[in-house]
């Protein structure tokens, strides 16, 4: 069993028009920026994939990553908690023009819905958003005298995540706060593709130090010295 791929091109080859794609990261931390750009390359070359639903905490920043996907017209809908950033122009322009859909989900609910999708839990109750406009139309139930909102699981066709170390079985670790949504998204997609800074031999990650067990990961591609989205945005870089 060897889940390693030799190129970013291979990593993103199987994503189709209309797919639901989870993309890890919180802002730039843990964002698989090189895979996103490989996906943009494919779109530029072939016109696919398009009409994507992208699930991410945010909705892109500056002119790179998810923002560049939006600028290119690849994204039909964003599911996120905070579609704002230091430079939110890409999403804001399309949203205000009615050219992109938004499903706004409270951050903790977003995380829990993704975990539920990966865990075979079709629905759960949370206090979050009760009494607000984000609970409109949702099932409400009282437990122990307190009202809760029912939320459904969230699944995806593909998850693109960024790990730190990976092995050929797909075991992953993450670097510091770059963990965020990545381990959850690994669980909730039909296919999970991870870029990692280093592929290590089996046993190179201690069994107790594995954060995402390989069962949740389908493919691993090595991207040594990955870029930091935040630095790229601060440099004013664009992925044209």
């Amino acid at each position: 069993m060897d889940k390693t791929l030799s190129s970013l091109e291979d990593a993103v080859a199987s994503i189709s028009d209309g797919d639901v794609v989870m993309i890890g990261g919180f802002g730039g931390s843990g964002a698989p920026i090189e895979m996103i750009h490989a996906l943009i390359d494919r779109f530029e070359a072939t016109g696919s994939p398009k009409d994507l639903t992208v699930i991410n905490n945010n909705a892109g920043n500056g002119k790179i990553g998810i923002a560049a996907m939006i600028d290119k017209g690849m994204v039909a809908k964003m599911v996120c908690s905070f579609p704002r950033s230091s430079d939110p122009r890409a999403f804001t322009d399309r949203y205000l023009a009615g050219e992109i859909d938004l499903e706004l989900v409270p951050q903790g609910t977003l995380a829990e819905r993704i975990r539920a999708g990966g865990s075979g839990i079709p629905a759960f109750f949370t206090p979050s958003s009760y009494g607000t406009e984000l609970a409109e139309g949702k099932q409400i139930q009282e437990f122990d005298g307190k009202p809760y909102v029912m939320e459904r699981w969230l699944k995806a066709d593909v998850a693109l995540v960024k790990g730190h170390l990976g092995d050929k079985f797909g075991n992953l670790t993450y670097r510091m706060a770059a963990r965020n949504f990545n381990p959850l998204m690994c669980m909730a997609a039909d296919r999970t593709i991870s870029q990692v800074s280093q592929i290590v031999p089996l046993g190179g990650i201690e069994p107790e130090a594995v954060v995402t067990p390989g069962i949740f990961v389908d493919s691993v591609v090595e991207v040594p010295n990955p870029r930091q989205e935040e630095e790229m945005v601060r440099n004013g870089e664009a992925y044209a």
Partner: protein, 226 residues
């Protein structure tokens, strides 16, 4: 009665042949654990145990046990390279969330609509369910391995289970001491049978109608030293 039943080892051998390279598999406590012994050469199979280990291997030599390293049957195990530990909810996320390719379970009864009864035979004694009710949900294939009939000759494949259920419409394939049978929306569909038993004899030992859909293969299993 000219036919001879497969031994438990032989049933386990047959189950093992169907497990593909790269599969993630949970083998139920007891009889299903034997499947690992017959893993065909050249295939890499990752075994999951619901107490929180992925990628475990053979039992340690006597005296070499580390009792922090056990399987769901509380037997000592060893690790293969690339193994991982995780807590119980992550472990059952693997089960319920559809991440396992196969779960193999024992059975008291399997009904023709795929219901499984394998956790208790009546209402007496101390009930104990463990992970059985979770394991029947989520794995891409839920296989049962069992003797075809009870010790007193009654069918274990039935129209409707009479023992308390473990799960409803969950079993996808049954490997018995006489046959390999898929459970489909049409009921039991015979895929393989021992060459020494006739269709009529097999039907007589089966509580639900055995359908045939395409060729019925020979259930040929090598002799295995017990």
């Amino acid at each position: 009665m000219s036919w001879k039943k497969l031994s438990n080892s032989q049933i386990a051998w047959r189950v093992a042949q169907d497990i593909q390279d790269g599969a993630y598999v949970n083998l139920g406590i007891g009889f299903p654990e034997m499947v690992a012994k017959f893993q065909p050469a050249g295939r890499h199979i990752t075994y999951h145990t619901e107490n929180g280990v992925l990628g475990f291997g053979r039992a340690p030599e006597p005296g070499e046990e580390d009792w922090d390293l056990i399987n769901a049957g509380k037997k000592a195990i060893t690790l293969e390279p690339g193994a991982s530990f995780f807590h119980h909810t992550d472990s059952f996320a693997m089960v319920r969330g559809g991440h396992l390719d196969l779960a193999v379970l024992g059975a008291y009864q399997v009904s023709q609509n795929g219901d499984l009864a394998n956790w208790r035979v009546g209402s007496k004694g101390v009930p104990a369910v463990g992970g059985a009710m979770d394991l029947v949900h989520g794995a891409k294939r839920v296989a049962v391995m069992t003797d075809h009939i009870t010790k007193d000759g009654k069918p274990k494949l039935v129209e409707r289970c009479t023992f308390p259920l473990t799960g409803v419409k969950c079993v996808t394939r049954v490997y018995t001491s006489l046959a390999v049978i898929d459970v489909t929306s049409a009921g039991f569909v015979l895929r393989e049978k021992k060459p020494d038993i006739s269709m009529d004899e097999l039907q007589d030992l089966t509580g639900g109608k055995l359908h045939v859909d395409g060729a019925v293969g020979d259930l040929d299993v090598p002799r295995i030293e017990e």
